[in-house]
Symmetry: C2
Subunit: 68 residues, 2 copies
């Protein structure tokens, strides 16, 4: 198991959190996604290391941006 | 046909707009719901006059507040 925290901008409400959680949760190997709305921190737990590109693609699919 | 405009607070994004549109649209007789996110104005077109209570209940069901 590995865990990584990303920062996502643009989330404004619980619906946004749900969208990001759903899309990131669909990345193969992801077992948990925890979003903190006020800070935009998204902590992803997965069976193997994820590429930042995979996480970025999921976040953008949900309609938000990954910083850096 | 009658049209009435209400002000809803708490909507922050397109998901919020979709939730309000869906709930208000389920009120019997409603034929159109138009939401302007920046102002919170919700314009409801319906076959007959709606009670404010009915609209308020739908807005609250979606998780938002009707002003006044």
């Amino acid at each position: 198991m590995t865990q990584q925290t990303y920062t996502v901008t643009g989330m404004t409400c619980g619906h946004c959190v749900a969208s990001v959680t759903e899309e990131v949760g669909e990345i193969p190997g992801v077992t948990d996604v925890a979003v903190d709305l006020p800070t935009g921190k998204v902590t992803v737990t997965s069976e193997q290391e994820l590429t930042t590109d995979a996480v970025r693609a999921a976040v953008e699919e949900a309609g938000y941006q990954l910083t850096a």
